[in-house]
Amino acid sequence: MKKKVISALLCVAMVSSMLIGCGSKTEPAETPAETEAEAEAPAEAEAPAEEASAEGGSVYYLNFKPEQADQWVALAEKYTEETGVQVDVVTAASGTYESTLKSEIAKTDAPTLFQVNGPVGLATWKDYCYDLSGSELYKNVKSDDFVLKDGDAVKGIAYVIETYGIIYNKSIMADYLTKDYAVVSDVSEINSFEQLKAVAESIQANKEDLGVEGAFTSAGMDSSSDWRFKTHLANLPIYYEYEGNGYSSVEAIQGTYLDNYHQIWDLYINNATCAPTLLSSKTGDEAEAEFALGEAVFFQNGTWEYGNLINAGMTDDDLGMLPIYIGVDGEENQGLCTGSENYWCVNSQASEADIQATLDFLAWVITSDEGRNAMANEMGFLTPFSTFDDGYVAENALIAAADEYIAAGKKSVAWCFPTMPSETWKNGVGSALTEYAAGTGNWDAVVTAFVDGWAAEYEAANN
């Protein structure tokens, strides 16, 4: 009998331990979020905590951009040294910002400064956004184009303007132009999808001669890289549809330009460094390495990638950027894709003192020499603030390429992807693209995910 009691007790212990495991699973997202916060903990610890209470408020910035994580921590330390106000910076890992923010903001020490990606992000967080209309930030922003508004209230202000397109390796391109199989005599002749396709295919056909593995880097559909296609590349058909109809967001998309999306995707996957069936496992780092090592000529990415490419051993002379041509009429005048999906918001539910400390910190960042230097030169941000005009304009080869297109009178493609209805929509399109590339799905599935998925997700997210 005693044995039975013991075994029953053991069973109960087992069951309860399993149930505890089960209980924590109901909020599984806590885990990645926590680890991210932990990862930055040593950096926070360095900030002198005892001075924190000097002004009564402190700043907690939840940063979106892992590329600039170290620079933000350094800048925060400098500010703490100067004013005694504590500034903590935590950076969310790539792709986990929304989940990190969701769990962080429910804490007692919630972020006082966070960011949203645009109108759809604002819809989630508008109850947490302090009205910035009286702030130093808003006074110095160059135009309302860089501001997110809810009625008259200024809810978010963009702090960086970015550009993406097809980055190309100038050295290999120059080599290609000297060959007799070159179909253009100068890069500037690539001004339409037809030309881009002809160039890419002739590079692909002669890849041994040029010493490359393919014309394009692998269009990896791993989660570290799939945003380049399901979000950034998908922006082009959406942009042209919005332009043609004159609206800025929509409940149901028609997919007028999906044939163009089809042909650019075909071009990417059939003229790349690897077989299309392998794309689902290819990562962003692999594509970056292929480009930096000169194994591919074209790499769809943006100005934020500059630092990584330079660190990987490339020089300014290697880097150029082409617009993404998808075969729309009049695209000779199309420029690069320029916009912002990084809007600063101040947490309205933080204490008065913390809000004030955060506003002061932001004002310092955009007006002081240290702040402006850090943002423009160390982080390489092109900002929309007038205070940066006197000598604090970010300079690098990719930004220069973007400026050239604007100077030449080309029309920049606006960033419409912040109006995509939900993450689920993006994932649906991404999966359909992957399956199409692998040969297990057909293009109709992409069209369904794009058009029907949009309507369904808009409905699901707004009702």
């Binding site: 075994s7 069973c11 699973k25 997202a29 989630t124 392998l278 794309l279 999966s431 992957t434 997210a461």
Partner: protein, 280 residues
Amino acid sequence: MEKTIKKYFPIFALPTAAAFTVFFIFPFIMGVYLSFCSFTTVKDAKWIGFSNYTKIWGDPTFVHALWYTALFSIIAVVSINVLAFAIALLLTKGIKGTNIFRTVFFMPNLIGGIVLGYIWQLIFNGILARYDLTLTFSEKYGFWGLVILLNWQQIGYMMIIYIAGIQNVPGDLIEAAKIDGASKFQILKNVTIPMVMPSITICTFLTLTNAFKLFDQNLALTAGNPSNRSELLALNIYNTFYGRNGWEGVGQAKAVVFFILVAVIAIIQLRATRSKEVQQ
């Protein structure tokens, strides 16, 4: 003695009871409450009644994940227990190096799920790359990949429990069976297995619930690709929670349904195997 234990019972039970309340009971009640709410963060929830629950059944990915998980659990439970029991039998025969083998088989259990998932993803993709394929090419690959991974991880743990059970089978029972002329298979079927029934109860319970609740391995191995078709229930809940604005409550409702499901299955399984146990 009994009296003293009774007297100090609250003091000894307090720390655990407090921890259990704070880390289990409270989050659990809050979780159930949130499943009836519309919320962005857990702090500002608005009561909306049953509409989260009605939305669950309109979501085709949930129904798919349910069947996929059920099938996965059945195959994983059978394969893990059969293999673990077989290895446990081998390692109680007193062959040379038994302790080393036991350690080696147990080791995989010490590695965390996420790490394991990424390691196996590399292995599988490395093999499949020879045929220009990847793990997310088809949901079948992800399915068998998960089965292999979970087998590799859990066989060692279950093996230890079975070894303990087998070693507890009284030697005189087996001897008596031998004298009666029982064959090796008859001894296994009529003596060993009935005697280790308590171990079988625990092992099937652990593997069943683990397979049902599998999350990290699924996330690291396939992340539900292609098109959510290799998504197990736990990952489906996670993706619902973070996939759309305003669907946090639906994810929470799914989690409640999930809890009830796991609890019911576990209780049925416990009843079924407990009834086969013999009293020594």
